[in-house]
């Protein structure tokens, strides 16, 4: 599904050159649950943004569903993000003036869905995250864990093939975090790939694969669970 060859990222900001990611190879198959770990400032978000088509890479080749993404126009990339990718961010990023229903509606608006289909998808996503009864509430009326559930509902409403989550539990206490983790597990179980940045080692162990980034250098660890079986 996703194949990166010799991929690297350099930031150029007023005569300072930051090598955020050293060249690396990585491929991820449809349906996998991949955890990305590493210390703060090591390049995890940069990796996720590139993988999610939010940023361009500087070197190497990135193929998504067999297509070289550097050949895609901005419009195509937007449409790809819209239809195939769901995002979950650490700080939820809900629009405070919109109620839950309208927040989840937002990505669907950029697709050619009928009002009826959008409504069905929104209600289904809200049910999946257990907030069906609160569609008219506003984000500030919810707890952090609930807000993140709304963000997840927004990410899955368009039936994406992959979800990119950047420290989705970073702002939550451990009980809420576990709820979010099991929600992501459920989503993954239905065939959606999940690529999740975390600095919680325990959470990382729940993934099938662990990718580690240290000072921009990417390497792969087998999860302890898998190691034990081997």
């Amino acid at each position: 599904m996703l194949k990166m060859t010799g991929l690297a990222k350099v930031y150029l900001t007023s005569d300072v050159k930051t090598q955020a990611l050293q060249p690396f190879n990585l491929s991820i198959e449809q349906g996998e649950f991949v955890a990305v770990i590493g210390p703060s400032g090591s390049g995890k978000t940069t990796f996720l943004n590139i993988a999610g088509l939010l940023e361009n890479h500087s070197e190497g080749v990135y193929e998504l569903d067999g297509k070289d993404v550097s050949t895609l126009s901005d419009k195509h990339k937007s449409a790809y993000r819209n239809e195939k990718i769901g995002f979950v961010f650490q700080s939820f990023n809900l629009i405070p003036e919109l109620n839950l229903y309208d927040n989840i509606d937002m990505p669907l608006r950029y697709r050619k869905f009928t009002a009826k289909e959008r409504d069905e998808r929104i209600m289904k996503a809200l049910e999946q995250v257990g907030l069906a009864g609160r569609k008219n509430h506003y984000p500030t009326q919810l707890s952090g864990g609930q807000q993140q559930r709304v963000a997840i509902a927004r990410a899955i409403a368009g039936s994406p093939s992959v979800i990119f989550a950047d420290e989705p539990t970073g702002n939550l206490d451990s009980k809420m975090a576990q709820g979010i983790m099991s929600l992501l597990q459920d989503i993954n179980a239905s065939g959606t790939s999940i690529i999740m940045v975390t600095h919680d080692n325990e959470q990382a162990q729940q993934a099938q694969r662990i990718v580690q980034i240290k000072d921009g250098v990417l390497s792969e660890d087998a999860p302890i669970l898998a190691q034990a079986i081997a």
């Binding site: 939010l54 901005d74 993000r81 608006r109 950029y110 697709r111």
Partner: protein, 437 residues
């Protein structure tokens, strides 16, 4: 999608009420000022006779002696003699002779004090050619013209003044020392501009009353300053007959010519007439006869003044200044929405989607600004009406077309001046700003 964007625009309005209010206010002030001045200017340049302005002509003849300049001066008036000589050609559908006098008027049965009034002297065709509406009675007939009868037509306003608005047909009005019988009362009637008389009164109400031109002549009522009277050659004798026989140019003559053939025929007729006169020693300056249609007449006589256009340009400048300020506010507004833009871009909005969303947002603000601007323009026009009370009040009224163009203008300029802020907002990277919302 459009309704979605409108909804987002209204939500955004609520989110930054002060900023949005200031934007609306700036647009409203600029639009209000522009539309106030534009309305006056636009109304001044209306076609006064839309049904026949291309068929009604001012008859102009340069009957002056040798040595007068050929350019500048207006020749809107002709001599009494020439008018009398050409009026029986039988070619035009209507002839309308125009002059004016002032007099003291009163209703002998009701008033002790006579009121100084303006009197339009004309002929029966006036009421048919200009299709004047009548409240009571009608205009006088040709018989009254021929016999120079003492008949009078009142405007609605003077009928209110002298007869308390009652049907006064058949009653008498004291005109100086003699009595005139009322034959008709006009309903509300205003040509805009009122082109047929002197230029300086083009935006005033019609004169108070109308009497036959021939009656003016018979009763020897001398024209005053309500008429342009150019006497390029002094005349002998000081009686009225001498004035009538003089080379003084003081009669305005309008004709209605049904088609081009009639026009050419009439032009040939007056040219022939002028040549005959030249053979007898008049028209020594040149043969220069013109049939000037209403629209050309308005231009020639500079009835639509440049002052009003100047005011429009000044207020357009003001509008631009308002919009430039507004543009700064737009920048600030969209800058504050960078987080939302980044998020929308991340979840799949293309640049075009962002441009569309913000264009609609500015269009909504422009529309509201236009509505408020309309209200401000009404105030502006009310003030103008007070300030320039010699101008007719209908100059200070917007019609539906102007109202709709105001709204359209407000929306268009808002979006135009929003192009740069919108473009900048659309450049927001999907990855940036995702931390802050």
């Amino acid at each position: 999608m459009f309704s979605y964007y409108v909804k987002l625009a209204l939500i955004s309005f609520k989110r930054t009420p002060l900023l949005s209010f200031l934007m609306v206010l700036l647009i409203a002030m600029g639009i209000g000022a522009t539309m106030t001045t534009f309305t006056v200017s636009y109304m001044m340049s209306q076609d006064p006779l839309p049904s026949k302005s291309d068929r009604v002509f001012s008859v102009q003849m340069d009957s002056r002696g040798d040595g007068y300049d050929w350019g500048e001066s207006s020749l809107a008036e002709i001599t009494y003699m020439d008018m009398q000589n050409v009026i029986n050609s039988g070619i035009p559908k209507h002839h309308v002779v125009i002059s004016a006098v002032s007099t003291m008027l009163k209703n002998p049965q009701q008033q002790t004090q006579a009121i100084k009034s303006k009197v339009r002297t004309t002929n029966a065709d006036f009421f048919t050619m200009f299709e004047t509406p009548f409240l009571f009675g009608s205009g006088w007939d040709e018989q009254a013209d021929k016999q120079a009868q003492q008949v009078i037509v009142l405007t609605k306003k003077s009928n209110n003044r002298f007869f308390n608005g009652e049907n006064s047909v058949g009653r008498f009005l004291q005109f100086g020392d003699v009595l005139y019988q009322v034959v008709g009362v006009l309903d509300d009637w205003q040509l805009m501009p009122k082109f047929y008389g002197v230029k300086t009164e083009a935006f005033s109400e019609p004169h108070d009353v109308f009497i036959p031109f021939n009656t003016q002549v018979k009763n020897e009522l001398m024209v005053g300053n309500l008429v342009n009277n150019t006497c390029w050659k002094s005349y002998e004798g000081d009686d009225f007959a001498a004035f009538l026989a003089s080379e003084c140019m003081w009669v305005v003559l309008w004709v209605e010519l049904d088609n081009d053939a009639a026009r050419e025929q009439y032009q040939a007729y007056i040219d022939r007439y002028a040549q005959q006169q030249r053979d007898h020693g008049r028209f020594a300056n040149r043969i220069y006869n013109r049939l000037v249609d209403v629209k050309q007449y308005l231009v020639d006589e500079e009835i639509v003044s440049d002052d009003s256009k100047m005011a429009v340009w000044l207020s357009v400048l003001f509008l631009i200044v308002c919009l430039l300020n507004c543009m700064g506010l737009m920048m600030a507004k969209f800058h504050g929405k960078a987080g939302e833009v980044g998020l929308r871009r991340a979840v799949g909005a293309s640049k075009q989607h962002i441009v569309a969303q913000f264009s609609v947002e500015l269009a909504v603000i422009g529309f509201i600004g236009g509505l408020v601007g309309l209200i401000l323009a009404q105030f502006g026009l009310a003030i103008a009406e007070n300030l320039y009370n010699y101008l007719h009040a209908s100059l200070m009224q917007m019609n539906l077309i102007l109202v709709l163009s105001t709204l359209l203008l407000a929306v268009l300029v808002s979006c135009t001046f929003g192009l740069l802020p919108i473009f900048k907002a659309s450049l927001t990277q999907p990855s940036s700003q995702l931390k802050s919302l």
